[in-house]
């Protein structure tokens, strides 16, 4: 982790216990200057705790927090060079929009002739210039969200902490704000540490995603890596939709696993595995994304491997269509394998139609199947 030279935030063995409950279990993490890092996780995974420790609202039980190389663990929030955008915005109800945005500058005793222009600039940046004199409660949710943002960035923090900032907005507004936030971050060059439980949001906006589970970082990497190369069943399941097949490892190189079939195990090829892959004989899971599955309307002979299709081999398994769900731009086909495991495949509406009860062949390129452990 210390390999990143320009790390602006470093967490070392950060632990937070509330009584006997461990909210955060010794996480270490380095955030690069200018990076958009998303801390993703289900509720109770420790993501908000991480943010609150960095901001200084809670005290760490153990571990160190370095911001710009300075250990801030002992500093109160008002002495840390970070600002926070709160989940429910936490706008001061007794102040106008302008006074809310200027609050941090006033508290830092910035000369008042500077405050006016900087507040105006920040409000323009979030397109709220005309609303400067309004009270927060007179604004819509989206507008309040922008005020919260302006109130933080006007201080030009080194790091901006965002705690589910779009959580209270409806879907359409949320999507628009995602783009806007990302643009703002690029434009200002501020490091963002962004907490969310929405995996789609994480994938859309981030440079890197830290997926948290039970107070630990389950996997840290660029969004694409988390999606394409999940390290565990939990990651595969949490990020996007996936099909999980129980398999037994038979060979590591070339990687072959077996899937249970009615007439004995069927060999299936998977993406090349690393050195830390499970050993032969291990019971693991095969994760294949729905969009990687193809459905052929005819029953194929059982077995794996017609060589030379696409990048690598093509796995083919017989299946029976159980359900067809029309979802606008795609059709979801639920098909059951011989052992009863149901897979979901995405098809285009224009694909050759299949019907419930049809015997079909499910196929996928070997390198789209990823082995994951529990």
């Amino acid at each position: 982790m210390t390999a990143i030279v320009t790390a602006i935030v470093e967490l070392h063995g950060l632990t937070k216990r509330f009584g006997t409950f461990t909210a955060l279990d010794g996480i270490s993490l380095a955030v690069a200057t200018g990076e958009f890092l998303t801390v993703l996780g289900a509720s109770g995974s420790g993501k908000t705790t991480t943010l609150r420790l960095i901001a200084g609202f809670d005290l760490a039980t153990e571990g160190r927090i370095l911001i710009d190389g300075v250990d801030v663990v002992a500093l109160p929030p008002f002495k840390r060079p970070v600002n926070t955008v709160f989940q429910q915005y936490a706008l001061f109800p007794h102040m106008s929009v302008r006074d809310n945005v200027g609050y941090g500058l006033r508290m830092q005793r910035v000369p008042s002739r500077e405050i006016g222009p900087r507040v105006a600039e920040a409000l323009d940046m979030v397109q709220l210039g005309p609303f400067a004199h309004r009270a927060p409660r007179q604004l819509s949710g989206g507008q309040q969200q922008r005020v919260a943002l302006a109130r933080a960035i006007v201080n030009r923090p080194r790091v901006l902490l965002l705690d589910e900032p779009l959580g209270a907005l409806d879907l359409k507004l949320r999507r628009a704000m995602q783009l806007e936030l990302k643009q703002l971050q690029t434009q200002l060059g501020i490091t963002f540490i962004y907490v969310t439980h929405d995996q789609e949001e994480a994938l859309t906006m981030s440079d890197r995603v830290a997926l948290m589970r039970q107070g630990r970082i389950e996997q840290l990497g660029p969004p694409r890596e988390l999606y394409d190369r999940p390290r565990s069943r939990y990651v595969a399941d949490f990020i996007g939709e996936t099909n999980l097949l129980p398999v037994t490892v038979t060979d590591r190189d070339p990687a072959v696993v077996t899937v249970a079939g009615p007439a004995g195990p069927i060999p299936v090829h998977v993406a090349p595995v690393g050195a830390d892959a499970p050993r032969a004989g291990a019971q693991v899971w095969l994760s294949v994304r729905p969009e990687s599955l193809t459905i052929e309307a005819s029953a194929a002979p059982w077995g794996a491997g017609s060589p030379g299709v696409g990048r690598g081999r093509l796995n083919r398994l017989p299946a029976t269509v159980r359900d067809i769900v029309y979802a606008g731009s795609v059709v979801k086909v639920h098909a059951a394998l011989a052992d009863g495991v149901t897979l979901v495949a995405l098809r285009a509406p224009a694909d050759p139609p299949v019907a419930t009860g049809d015997a079909v062949t499910i196929g996928w390129a070997a390198d789209r199947g990823v082995l994951v452990v529990d």
Binding site: F57, A90, P93, H94, M107, Q108, A135, R137
Partner: protein
């Protein structure tokens, strides 16, 4: 039942214009009662004196209630509701006990004198403790501090923790957070609490009678009490009551206005009166 409430107050107003002739009530309208009320030194002076006592009680109650409300709202982690209940329970538990307890404490043979003497601090019992304005103020403060605390606690408790955190995140120290965020947000509760303390202590007549002792320490309610109960001059008593009622309503109205300016939409209570709903 609304009639049973409205009619008496209305009748009080009408009665204050009636004439007392040779000790019997006549229904002739007259302004004599008000003339006498404002023409004699006694009544305006007593009203002023009562307001002075009430003001002192209000200020001291506020100074006492605010820190306790603050600690209850922000510092207490466990048994918060239980502790809050403990603070306000005395409100609903025997007014009389709370008032006369001070007689036991402050009396010439009282506990305070006894303790001071046994410790050798004084030789003879102090007689200035009881039967003084200070004793009345002390007892009334004791009685109405929980009342002052109630609305202050209610508003403080409703302030989200995130507002404090946001303020500290924006470089305000705890003291400045208190001045710029907590205090302005608590204003509606402070106004309501102070209104209670002022109105109720100004209208109190038992504590002054018990602890004030001499005539100079009598409050305006004691005048009403003696006009109705001893002198049987009901029209004049009604006039004094109407003045008290008027002052109270004006105060409630002003408090309501101040409070409306200071509340920020989060609180559904429409006016200071709504805080009077027990807990």
């Amino acid at each position: 039942m609304a009639v049973l409430l409205l009619l008496p107050y209305a009748l009080l107003l009408i009665q204050s214009f009636w004439r007392l002739r040779n000790g019997t009530l006549t229904h002739e309208l007259t302004l004599d009662n008000y003339r006498r009320l404002f023409g004699t030194r006694l009544y305006p002076a007593t009203i002023l004196y009562s307001a002075g006592v009430a003001l002192r009680v209000t200020v001291i109650s506020l100074v006492l209630a605010f820190p306790l409300a603050y600690v209850l709202a922000f510092k207490v982690r466990r048994h918060k509701t239980l502790l809050y209940m403990a603070v306000i329970i005395p409100l609903w538990v025997s007014y009389l006990v709370r008032a006369y307890a001070w007689k036991i404490i402050l009396g010439q043979q009282g506990i305070l004198n006894g303790m001071l003497m046994s410790m050798g601090i004084i030789r003879a019992p102090l007689t200035v403790l009881l039967y003084s304005t200070a004793a009345v103020v002390l007892a009334l403060t004791h009685i109405y501090t929980p009342f002052t605390l109630m609305p202050i606690y209610a508003v403080l408790d409703a302030i989200p923790a995130s507002l404090k955190e946001a303020s500290q995140d924006l470089y305000a120290s705890r003291w400045r957070t208190f001045i710029h965020v907590i205090l302005p947000l608590s204003l509606p509760g402070v106004v309501a609490g102070c209104t209670f303390a002022f109105v109720l202590s100004m209208g109190d007549f038992l504590a002054p009678q018990l602890l004030g002792g001499n005539d100079s320490a009598l409050m305006v309610s004691n005048l009403v009490w003696s006009l109705f109960g001893v002198a049987y001059n009901w029209p004049l008593g009604a006039a004094v009551s109407v003045v008290m009622l008027g002052l109270t309503l004006i105060l409630l109205w002003v408090a309501g206005k101040v409070e409306a300016r200071g509340s920020y939409g989060g609180d559904a209570r429409a006016s200071v009166v709504d805080y009077a709903a027990p807990i």
